[in-house]
Symmetry: C2
Subunit: 1003 residues, 2 copies
């Protein structure tokens, strides 16, 4: 045979073909002293809604958007874990885990229970979702975590030890100390911190720290915080092993080509050494997974088995299957002192021009909806408790579940796709509808005289009471707060001849205010767009009247028509003011008065009680959203706020102000421009300013996305400093263009100074405090001294490249015509003498969170009071919670026990009186019930508090010991049943009431 | 609370949340009489190399090219099958299955054995790969199928029942009758047939037929053939359930949104009814899978479980987990008469301008390499048998495995990516190297006198014998055919003074021919490019001398230098001829003479023995490959031949012919153009023309891809008719622009008339036959009457859009300079009197397939014959196989038994004498061995022939009964050991030889 002239490649030596090459991998390594230990932590990150809805992610539908199916992850995980007892996995998002669990048969359930109890499958973090930390309220964080932890405890007897907030876009102090330490977590892991901060920390090996998130709690709420060096994915060097991933698999079959064990071991060791180089102790963590991975778990484990086997055979380092718990214990065992971190990790930037501060405001309507539902859920659970929880429903459960999902870091954040935002809203709507039924039923029971066993809903379905037929409207007003509440109600009416009576038959002063056509137009449009029905007759007036409601109770008011009676509701006087006339304009019937300037922005605020006088203006502006075209592709979008110029919105001074005056409230209506309408209110009995804004449709016909902000501009010398709350709880000092723990290079002087505002924002100048409180989560800042701004609405035309792949361009469509979404909302403003602002911020802030809950009925004639209980408080009538204490949770659980949670509302030193230790007398809170058993628990109610404190790891901190005394309530004496609360303390209890003689738990 | 103005969607009714919704699916349905039965057949189609190499596909590496990992498929399959005993799966490609199997531990192996024995996992088709049917030789098809079936039989005791050639690009008659019926298959499924044929068959419900592929065997080799209506994927309507597929999953959890059971059931029923509409009987098959699917098998089964459950609950149709076996049995049980199909399904077109006839030639070097190795493997196994198979190696096993892979329908077809083609070549190279060692060792044993237990290789490593030192070259010539063979050898030599002796010391006439520089240049270039070494001194001559070798045996020749002896080798006379001189040019020293015309294309062929005289020309042309730009994007590519114009290649009449003349052979050398060189040979003792061509580098600097064809143009009146072989075996009549069983609309008058040529192509005019035989698989046609053309080489610049995503542009690179691959090859031409051509085509065709095998040694002086056996035949020296019979297989198996396969080479009626029943006398084939036990088996040797025939389903055919008597050999009488073979019959035996007295199985 002549010379072979064909394409031949070099002949390689191979093992004899045909032989079996079954290789048992040794994956049994534990921690090895004296070696670098690589904790291989297999995990998946499953967003509870983002590009697809939670259900779509679970079942794996809508894969054209994103190939992701959580059912695959969990289904495939079980055989993979069974294959090798050393394999481990963590699972995080309980919303998914619960969906999966209820689809399983008993055999699988038993198997999984075994895997969990042996630690091979560990449920960590454990809330229903991995909640956001900027745009969520702490009460929602607690509720959704409690819901998840409860399931884990009940079903598996497990208590999550680890906080695993690996994806949220910045991290809050409240998360660290409250949802971390106070939940009993030993550590808390995440990765999204400012890129400059990260770079510094890598250099100084300070990615792992002890985080002291609470000034009030000091070291008692320290937690170990681990920041990942890059992200929550496998280390650099191609270690992705999902089906279809293109990392090189470990090819160790000598009978096949491309054997690469040596290269892969070298890659792994190199990655480990690089990470060890920026990490203290000889333990590092490899987070082996990412979004929705482990669709076929075996594909990962197969390769990790091999890596562990061959790396340990190589011997340079030690690799082990691990979990964050094992890693944390190893860190703790190293007995190191760790750098201290205080405050929080906001704002987050991943690039010089990429501050993730847009999402503080993105989807403001959804944010408001979530906040409304949160307060409603709190109240509804109280009413569910009063009535007794019914298995046959209606219950508050669906609302609780919907709210839990809405806390996800791509839900309330506004960073999900539009159809997913719709899904969250739909769930809230369903939950609200069910909770409303429960509320109606409960109120019916509470109001009904005689037998309460068959109480029926007071609200027969009606949408409008026809006063002309002698009927009157019964308004039941429920107060979920623990203190008596005076407030002004507003009810839409048709008639201009209205009279209001209280539950004792006394006439109540009231005022009629014509409903602004701006408001009516929105109502009409949205009823048509979302309900598909015609909105019917338009009410003409808001009827405003003051109400007084006892704590944890209700009062009843009666609205009827009365021709020309002396005591008829006052019609507001109406006055139009324009241009220079405005400078004579003053509103306010009580202590607080506002004086307008010629431009129509009010300029003088004066409070005759506190003697505060201050000048400021109320203005609007918008930022042009960077479009991301050109050489720098970073657009402003759902996540990222990147302004490309500021445009002041000038009020047309030709457009008159409209002023409504009356005995209850003065209102100033201003059409700021064609798409901003503003109503400023001063109530006679209240010492703050309420501003209602209607913003939108934001025009984009100039091709620019716009981000609309309200400004309050004063001449206060605030020295670059302002304060924003952390998840609605602690206020944190912010200094413009400055970070307290690291040196910032400023690239984005506006976006980089934005912070999340859940409760409020304030500035002070040594003499006074200017506070603004909000009705939802919002982005805010003080961009100039004396100034506060709130980002009210964002309408953008470009995606910002962080995955959602949609422009944040919310629209409302009617007859195939779409226009930008209109946002309606309120903010509240008050100026207090220095040192006094906290009282309003805290107490009134709680009232904003928990508005009065209304129910309506009709009566023919005046017989209601004869057949109903018109006024009620669940508490001892002479008792009220201290001003500093809120009842966060009063909820009957499935087993009849009751979850009870009180919160001290003030930080240590925040207020000279109200920051003191406070007490709650449970016997007076529940005067008609006998507490059989009461156990104090962790914040998420999944373990006894005492056991938690004993168990929780105490971490050592570098530097001098923490100074300052921490005030916490002492142990509760079961005979006294008095709960003490130190500043910022939240105490959680499981209470078992003894059954009353009647055998019912009703009051 | 005022009217909710937020985005609310309609509230939908949901089952009570929180309840368990574990649903046990009823998947137990079998066939239901009176209903439409949908056979749900889960399958994966795993190419044994295509875009990635077979090993890359297996381990899942190189996923950036294609996300595919067969290990995932098989790993995930096992738990999925265990989950529900009704789930079924078929697996096809044994190359993958064997790779996986040898990685498994005993527990998994036991589990899998259970699944296979219970029919839940069925291994069908069962070859190492799903071989191609156009470019493969039937011997390779048999070998690769035998290899796969052997494993299945030995490991699992199973015999595959079903042919499953779902992807090859057209289907051969040999596949149907030989690799189908003769293997014992009951049915054969596929989908790629001409789109016009398919459309017709859909209308007439003739997608399922009985295929009678063999004229010789008639109905005795009928097989049920099922053509899929569209492809081998799930039916239309989105039923793809791979991880990440975007078909709607069946969402049946009432607690989640998007419940869609009803829609999905309707989709399924609609798909079933549509398919039922074009299918006979109430059974249809849904092929649930496609390329490399079931990476996570559960994802498919989960959805199929639900579909079967809910579809059967719906009740309109019956869905069942099935396999092609169950489906076939159901079809058979229907007791229908089926339409008859004869001939084959070539060529395949999936669109008017998309004839898959390019791949008949694509990668001609690889095709030649495969064919060379195929013949070598046949011979090497004989030598392995003579020596005795050794477990410690070397063996022919690797070559067998490499050849098996190379038969894959993206291997020898040339439709794989370049790096994958390299992988096949590498495997062949390794296999060849090992087989060479075995061959050397075996020949050493056979030649050695005395003890054969430690025989050493005769070929000590030498590349060149230095005659000047008195050494001579020993040439051992092995003949693997069953008959004595006279041939001319060619050995490169340096000296011009050479003498050749035979094994009895007689001088043999020989001739020296200067080696053409075209050949030397290729040698130099390829040695450098592929071996990376300098090629060393250049031999000057080919030494040609006739040899005579006994059947299944060898002879020895001695080449030495002898100064100026009378008997020295004749140097060829050299003569240059140009222009009109050519017309006087005549070559041929024997019966056959060729007379050239002025253009240098020879014009007169005359054979003084047969008295044939015929005029014809030998020409070259190229087709311009359609580039696929413009409105019609179909390019010519690896699969598809789509010419865009024909360019004749004119021989420059200024370039002289070179004529070499001598006692053995005359050669005419022609530089056709700058990149085509042709040598035409006429051997004194042979009555055919041998044409060697060197084509390339095909220039593409004009931006055109080119497809180069050789033409033989005669004036024969061939009436549009020509004949091409089916996989190297039966000749099938082809008529230009015509299909025998359906009406074709001609869109591609060239590409649509191309057919695969493995053995040869011929035309006839009633007086004579013009036959051309080839040295590899190639595309050929008769585009004009009297003409034959062979596509020799293809170099194209565009991908043709069938998945490979590479242009077929083979290059050779040296010092970073790449140029087009040069193809060297031969074709053979003969003109016979009408009715006589088959003898040459069959007998010489077999010699082309099985060239003489050479081994070299050196001797000092003339002592070789004293110490060695110089001449040998394994058979009785007086015996020879009949001219009509070839020994296809003589192979010792691992257990010491021997696989023996004889083939009758003639079709019924093909030759007046040689088509008769033939006999092989085994006692004379193995004169020195005693046959202990001999069992006739199916073609793939996995079952007894008698049992197979009894078991195999007999299908009814529409129309009159088949006429004509089928001649097959009768049962073999074990005492006589004479095997009879009817026309085209291949008979396979497992033989156990009794041990010889010496205890060795050697001769």
């Amino acid at each position: 045979m002549g010379p072979v002239r064909l394409a031949l490649l070099a002949v390689v030596a191979l093992a004899a073909a045909g032989e079996a090459v079954y290789i048992p991998y040794n994956t049994s390594a534990g921690v090895v002293a004296g070696k670098l230990n690589v904790h291989v932590v297999p995990h998946t990150h499953d967003d509870v809604g983002w590009l697809k809805t939670v259900d779509q992610y679970y079942v794996g539908s809508n894969n054209s958007i994103q190939g992701a199916c959580v059912q695959n992850v969990l289904d495939s995980l079980i055989p993979a874990l069974l294959k090798d007892e050393n394999r481990k996995f963590i699972y995080v998002e309980q919303a998914f885990f619960q969906r999966w669990w209820r689809n399983q048969n008993d055999m699988i359930k038993d198997t999984v229970k075994g895997l969990i109890s042996s630690g091979r499958l560990e449920l960590i973090n454990g809330g229903m979702c991995m909640h956001d930390e900027a745009t969520v309220h702490y009460i929602d964080m607690i509720d959704q975590t409690t819901l998840g932890h409860k399931f884990i405890k009940e079903e598996f007897g497990q208590i999550p030890r680890i906080g695993w907030q690996i994806d949220p876009f910045g991290h809050s102090a409240v998360q660290a100390y409250l949802l971390g330490a106070e939940v009993g977590f030993d550590a808390f892991y995440f990765f999204r911190i400012d890129y400059q901060d990260r770079d510094t920390r890598k250099e100084t090996k300070e990615l792992e720290v002890v985080w002291r998130g609470s000034k009030s709690f000091g070291s008692s709420a320290d937690i170990f915080a681990g920041i990942f060096p890059k992200n929550y994915e496998p280390p650099p060097g191609d270690f992705y092993f999902e089906v279809d991933d293109d990392s090189p698999v470990v090819q160790d079959d000598p009978l096949l080509f491309d054997y690469n064990v040596e290269e892969r071991v070298n890659d792994f060791v190199a990655a480990a050494l690089a990470q060890a180089n920026i990490t203290r102790t000889n333990h590092i963590m490899f987070t082996m997974g990412t979004d929705f991975k482990y669709q076929y778990a075996e594909s990962w484990f197969r390769n990790m088995d091999k890596l562990i086997h061959y790396v340990n055979k190589d011997g340079r380092i030690n690799a082990l299957y691990s979990t964050p718990s094992i890693y944390t214990d190893a860190k703790y065992a190293a007995n190191e002192q760790w750098p201290l971190k205080t405050n929080d990790f906001f704002p987050y930037a991943d690039n010089p021009n990429a501050y993730w501060t847009g999402y503080f405001t993105s989807r403001p309507a959804l944010k408001r909806y979530v906040r409304m539902m949160s307060g409603y859920y709190l109240a509804a659970r109280q009413l569910e408790f009063f009535k007794g929880k019914s298995k046959s429903g209606p219950t508050t459960d669906y609302l609780g579940d919907a709210l839990a999902l809405a806390q996800h870091h791509d839900a309330v954040t506004g960073t999900e796709k539009q159809h997913v935002a719709n899904d969250y809203a739909k769930r809230l709507s369903i939950g609200y509808t069910r909770a409303q039924e429960l509320v109606s039923t409960s109120l019916a029971c509470l109001t009904e005289l005689g037998s309460k066993s068959h109480c029926s809903s007071p609200t027969t379905k009606f949408s409008q009471t026809d006063f002309s037929k002698g009927k009157s409207l019964v308004v039941l007003v429920y107060n979920s707060l623990g203190w008596k509440r005076e407030d002004v109600l507003r009810v839409p009416v048709f008639s201009d001849s209205i009279v209001v009576h209280d539950s004792e038959g006394r006439e109540v002063e009231s005022q009629l205010l014509p409903i602004a056509s701006a408001s009516l137009n929105i109502r009409d449009k949205h009823v048509k767009a979302y309900l598909g029905t015609s909105p019917g007759a338009k009410p003409k007036f808001w009827l405003a009247f003051p109400v007084s409601v006892p704590p944890l109770g209700f009062n009843t008011y009666f609205v009827s028509s009365m021709k020309k009676s002396a005591s008829v509701s006052s019609k507001s006087t109406i006055y139009s003011s324009q241009g220079s006339e405005n400078s004579n304009l003053q509103v306010g019937q009580g202590n607080l008065k506002l004086q307008y300037n010629a431009a129509g922005a009010f300029s003088l605020y004066s409070d005759s009680r506190t003697l505060i006088e201050a000048n400021f203006e109320q203005k609007y502006k918008y930022y042009i959203g960077q479009d991301g075209n050109g050489s720098d592709p970073q657009a402003s979008g759902a996540y990222i706020f990147r302004p490309n110029g500021t445009v002041p919105i000038k009020t047309d001074s030709q457009v008159p102000l409209t002023v409504l005056r009356g005995p209850i409230v003065d209102e100033v209506h201003q059409q700021i421009n064609s798409w901003i309408y503003q109503i400023t209110r001063v109530y006679k009995g209240k010492d703050y300013v309420e501003t209602e804004f209607i913003v939108g449709p934001v025009p984009t016909d100039d091709g620019n996305g716009k981000e609309v902000a309200a400004e309050i501009v004063s001449n206060m010398a605030t020295n670059k400093t302002f304060y924003t709350d952390s998840s609605g709880r602690d206020f944190i000092k912010r200094i413009r263009d400055y970070r307290s723990e690291w040196k910032i290079e400023v690239h984005q002087p506006i976006a980089g100074n934005y912070y999340p505002v859940n409760l409020g924002i304030y500035v002070e100048d040594g003499n006074k405090e200017l506070s603004v409180l909000v009705d939802r989560s919002i982005g805010g800042s003080s961009i100039k001294d004396g100034q506060i701004e709130l980002m009210l609405h964002r309408r953008l035309l470009h995606d910002d490249g962080r995955g959602v792949a949609e422009a944040l361009n919310e629209t409302v469509c009617l007859d195939n015509q779409c226009e930008g979404l209109i946002i309606e909302g309120k903010y509240y403003l008050k100026i207090d003498p220095q040192g006094e602002g906290s009282r309003w911020r805290r107490t009134f802030g709680q009232e904003i969170y928990s508005p009065l809950l209304l129910a309506f009925s009709e009566q023919d004639g005046g017989n209601w009071a004869n057949s109903h209980i018109p006024k009620f408080s669940a508490m001892d009538p002479t008792y009220s919670l201290p001003d500093s204490v809120a009842l966060l949770t009063l909820q009957e659980l499935e087993d009849g026990s009751v979850l009870l949670r009180f919160a001290h509302l003030y930080e240590a030193g925040e207020h000279k009186d109200l920051s003191a230790l406070a007490s709650v007398d449970l016997k007076r809170v529940f005067p008609n019930k006998k507490i059989g058993k009461i156990i104090e628990t962790s914040l998420s109610a999944n373990q006894e508090r005492a056991a938690m404190e004993k168990k929780r790891l105490k971490w050592k901190v570098q530097g001098p010991p923490a100074d300052g005394k921490v005030v916490r309530g002492g142990p509760m004496d079961p005979s006294k049943l008095v709960i003490e609360l130190g500043p910022m303390e939240i105490r959680t209890f499981i209470v078992n009431f003894e059954r009353s003689i009647s055998g019912k738990q009703l009051l």
